[in-house]
């Protein structure tokens, strides 16, 4: 087995991996290695041929491919070391990486630091426990996206999409433009799972029905999908069988949420947050294992790639400092909790070393009007607050906190609540 030692290994060449690698290189870590299992750089971006990327990061509206190409171009220009078609099988807590590739066989790489950037996987029909048959014609939206946009295969002619996550919305438009019919998008919550602009630009603009508060109770068709049964949900979230109806279709796409892909993180002994399914990270994106950092969807599914890049740069910077021995090994942390109204807050803890501002990523638990996001400290004191006219679970909010404002040893908590006061300051 080939054995090498290097400074920084980045696992995954999607937007998180690319940004982390570039930042570390720019900070002087010459021996930065990207390991990517696909045959090209870019992660999920090459199959994202739609616009909506880069508005914040570049101030331009780009397609996913164009966004990826900016970073890929820099990686190539700086000649950052990279291995494609290389799958990492295991990471030890001592930061040894086992990776397999056709070109180099099995190899062991000892890394000074690691950035986990493996992204996420999609929730499946099986995990949703939708009863019925198991015919051909059931795909996750992301797999369908790869088939259509990269392999040039349109998998069906009449689609029903389960879940209104962004990938499903984007695919509703893509499939319609490709000559297929999208009969409906079926969403169990009373609000869409994806961004409002996608609901408008992908469903409303194409007259595709969106059935909120509905679920698919059955998929039928013995060998190929022939239809689905949908039913509205009552207040207890149970399907109302008497109002069920059948939609004929030949293909079902599942777009019901993303799950951070952390099998490798587990092999490294990285502690995961049961709320997110991703690693517990601090404000420099270090996990519970010193020298192992994480960024991007592997931490939590981001709604904008721009936020992924910024977050990954934080990780890359920190990894560089760690490699140079400039990072405090076991700092004190302020623990961060997601309180009422907040489904998730990242980071889950803030380091007491260093000062400056920390930007919290907060996912609202439910839609709210006139929302107030509050960071509470000890004895319920308010440390930071922000008002928003409206918040949605699909859109992650930010809240900035100055470390200088925090008291030693206090426990932090973010809440989101509806406030009667009208908002005058937010977008």
């Amino acid at each position: 087995m080939r054995c090498t030692t290097t400074d920084l290994v980045i696992i995954g060449a999607g937007p998180a991996g690319l940004a982390a690698a570039l930042e570390a290189r720019r900070r002087g870590i010459e021996r930065t290695f990207i390991l990517e299992r696909d045959e090209r750089l870019g992660g999920i971006l090459p199959q994202c041929i739609h616009l909506g990327f880069g508005l914040h990061y570049f101030g331009e509206e780009l397609t996913g491919c164009e966004y990826a190409q900016r970073f890929i171009g820099d990686v190539e220009a700086l000649d950052v070391a990279r291995r494609l078609r290389c799958m990492v099988l295991e990471i030890t807590p001592g930061r040894a990486i086992y990776a397999a590739s056709k070109a180099r066989g099995m190899e062991r790489i000892e890394a000074g630091a690691i950035v986990l950037a493996m992204g996420c996987r999609e929730r499946t029909r099986g995990a949703l426990r939708i009863p019925g048959t198991r015919p051909a014609g059931i795909y996750t939206a992301g797999t369908a996206q790869r088939l259509v946009n990269i392999e040039g295969i349109i998998p069906g002619t009449r689609f029903v999409i389960i879940g209104s996550g962004d990938i499903g919305l984007i695919m509703a438009r893509r499939l319609t433009l490709s000559g297929a019919t999208v009969e409906a998008v079926v969403e169990m919550m009373p609000y869409p799972g994806g961004l409002m602009r996608n609901v408008v630009q992908c469903l409303h603009d194409f007259d595709i029905p969106l059935h909120l508060r509905h679920t698919v109770t059955r998929i039928d068709g013995p060998v190929r999908v022939e239809g689905v049964t949908i039913a509205p949900l009552d207040d207890a979230g149970k399907p109302i069988a008497t109002q069920a109806r059948r939609l004929a279709c030949d293909t079902v796409l599942v777009s019901a949420g993303l799950i951070p892909e952390n099998e490798l993180s587990k092999t490294a002994g990285v502690q995961l947050d049961p709320r997110t399914g991703g690693a517990i990270v601090d404000d420099v994106m270090q996990t519970s294992v010193p020298g192992i950092f994480a960024a991007g969807d592997v931490v939590y599914p981001h709604d904008l790639v721009d936020a992924v890049s910024t977050e990954a740069e934080v990780a890359g910077r920190a990894a560089a400092r760690f490699i140079r021995g400039e990072m405090v090994a076991e700092p004190q942390w302020w623990p961060m909790e997601a309180g009422d109204g907040a489904r998730m807050v990242i980071p889950q803890r803030i380091r007491a070393d260093g000062d400056g501002e920390v930007q919290l990523a907060v996912r609202p638990a439910s839609p709210m009007q006139n929302a107030v996001l509050t960071l509470h400290g000890a004895d319920n004191r308010i440390i930071a607050q922000r008002r928003r006219r409206a918040v949605w679970p699909a859109e992650v909010e930010t809240l900035t906190v100055d470390k200088g404002a925090l008291r030693p040893g206090e426990r932090l908590r973010v809440t989101i609540a509806e406030s009667p006061h009208e908002d005058r300051t937010s977008l």
Binding site: M1, R37, R85, M87, L89, E90, Y98, A100, S101, K102, A103, R104, G105, M106, R121, E122, T124, R125, G126, A127, R129, P131, G132, T133, R134, P135, A136, G137, Y139, T140, G142, T143, R146, L147, I150, E151, I153, I154, P155, G156, T157, T176, L177, S178, G179, A180, T217, R218, D220, P222, V223, R224, D250, T251, E263
Partner: protein, 485 residues
């Protein structure tokens, strides 16, 4: 790419390439006989054999004196050696039959009694306390411990049997239904397939849920198959509540809803048991999920619905309360029907019995000297140590290309599963041979890759690929000019 057409004639035609039909074919090729195995579906083991508990039972349950009891016992004894020859993993993890409360304890006593009648060794009554010590996640007032309970991958078993039979000269034809059984003057002439007639001296009807229909074709049907559906739910590998097979006390009809560790590290909960009228009805249901979960959680409280990653259903071929194995009024036509549980366990013994029945029909059989019982084991890359994996990649660099991330399946494994006798020709065929697509992402990552490899190896367009045979094409693109703005 299709299987070869059946020959014009054969000594024995076996109808149905499930575990029973494949055991029979593999047994028959040990003799100086030409053997043809016909399967209507696109792959071997695609019927009930592909959708069951995959448990090799010690033989407590069957009523003493029945064929089920005798063949279960004999089959259980034969299984370890057969699996060794075929390179199939058989994990003897043991089993417990659990009394959920004190009212069920007398049933355990009766089962203990029955185990003695059925000559099942080493069966022991244990207390609720002892059960908790051995299986901390299981709740019960007491249990019977059955050490000679094993689990295996039935697909792997069927593939290995079929490959070994083919390697020894059996002709296996998939997607080849029997359309008629040709009989003249009360004696078998042969069968009719879409590829033409196959003359035969003996026909073995091992057609599972369709065995009554096939027997009817010969005019030799005096039974009815009532399909009894069993739903199963597969739990994520991260969840391992038990280390042995956990059964509730059985009823007259079924062994009940069990918690079953699989040989690959998942856990199954199931099966339910409900008669259905449609032999093509393999749907899972909301009621079935609720029933499976509540029964499993009663035995094993830590089991959560959110642990479920997949579901499937299989149909038991029920023809009464015992196996139907024997000659019929049509000379040369032998029924092997109603093989419900303990059918899998009994299968090796059923095959031996069938050989004797064939000899009764056509005279003493001559044993071959060149039969090779060994089908070389195909170790799974994912189960090997890091060093062994490195060695494998050094031998064949296509082991370095991981195609299925969740189950760590290599391109070399995918390639091997397609090439070779009785190879994969569909997505499910590949899935069941390699486990690609059976992990927690359920194929979302590997599908586009597997599609390319399969289409390339079979030299067909991806649009011709199926999930499990014609009708289940994976991709149905819209017509080129379908979109009318």
């Amino acid at each position: 790419m299709t299987d070869p057409a059946p020959p014009l004639s054969a000594d024995v035609v076996v109808i149905g390439a499930g575990v029973v039909g494949c055991f029979i074919a593999r047994e028959l090729v040990q003799y100086d006989l030409t053997v043809v195995l016909l399967e209507k579906r696109s792959d071997v083991g695609a019927g009930t054999s592909g959708a069951n508990s995959a448990v090799v039972h010690a033989g407590i349950d069957p009523r003493p004196g029945t064929l089920m009891a005798e063949l279960n016992r004999a089959g259980a004894d034969a299984f370890p050696a057969v699996c060794q020859q075929l390179g199939v993993d058989l994990a003897m993890i043991g089993g417990y039959i659990v009394a959920k409360d004190d009212s069920e304890l007398p049933i355990l006593d009766r089962l203990l009694e029955r185990s003695r009648h059925n000559r099942v060794p080493n069966v022991r009554l244990i207390t609720g306390q002892e059960l908790r010590e051995r299986q901390p996640a299981v709740r019960g007032a007491g249990a019977i411990h059955v050490p000679h309970t094993g689990v295996l991958d039935v697909h792997q078993l069927v593939f290995a049997l079929a490959e070994n039979a083919a390697q020894n000269g059996a002709v296996i034809c998939r997607e080849c239904p029997v359309e008629a059984v040709l009989v003249r003057n009360g004696h078998l002439r042969g069968v009719l397939t879409p590829a033409g007639e196959v003359a035969a001296r003996v026909v073995i009807n091992a057609a599972g849920v369709d065995s009554d229909e096939v027997a009817g074709m010969a005019g030799a049907c005096d039974f009815t198959i009532t399909p009894c559906k069993g739903e199963y739910y597969v739990l994520d590998k991260a969840v391992k509540p038990v280390s042995s097979v956990i059964h509730p006390v059985p009823t007259e009809r079924t062994k009940g809803i069990c918690v079953i560790p699989t040989v690959d590290g998942n856990t199954l909960i199931g099966p339910t048991a409900h008669d259905v009228s449609d032999k093509a009805d393999l749907s899972t249901t909301e009621a079935g999920l609720a029933e499976a979960h509540s029964s499993a959680a009663a035995l094993c409280p830590p089991i959560e619905l959110t642990d479920v990653i997949a579901a499937y259903a299989g149909l038991r071929a029920v023809a009464g309360d015992d196996f139907i194995i024997g000659p019929t009024k049509v000379g040369g036509f032998i029924n092997v029907a109603g093989i419900k549980s303990p059918g899998l366990t009994a299968a090796p013994a059923i095959a031996h019995r069938v050989v004797a029945l064939v000899a009764e029909q056509i005279g003493p059989l001559r044993q071959r000297t060149d039969f090779d019982p060994v089908r070389p084991p195909r170790p799974r890359f994912s189960t090997l140590s890091g060093e062994k994996q490195a060695e494998l990649i050094a031998q064949d660099d296509e082991h370095g290309e991981i195609v299925c991330r969740c189950e760590t399946v290599t391109r070399a494994e995918v390639r091997a599963a397609i090439r070779g006798p009785v190879g994969a020709r569909s997505l499910d065929g590949l899935k069941y041979r390699t486990r690609a697509g059976m992990g927690r992402c359920q194929g979302a990552f590997c599908l586009p890759r597997v599609v390319k490899i399969l289409a390339g190896e079979l030299d067909i367009s991806p649009l011709e690929l199926t999930k499990f045979g014609s009708g289940s094409e994976l991709f149905i693109p819209p017509e080129a000019d379908a979109w009318d703005p």
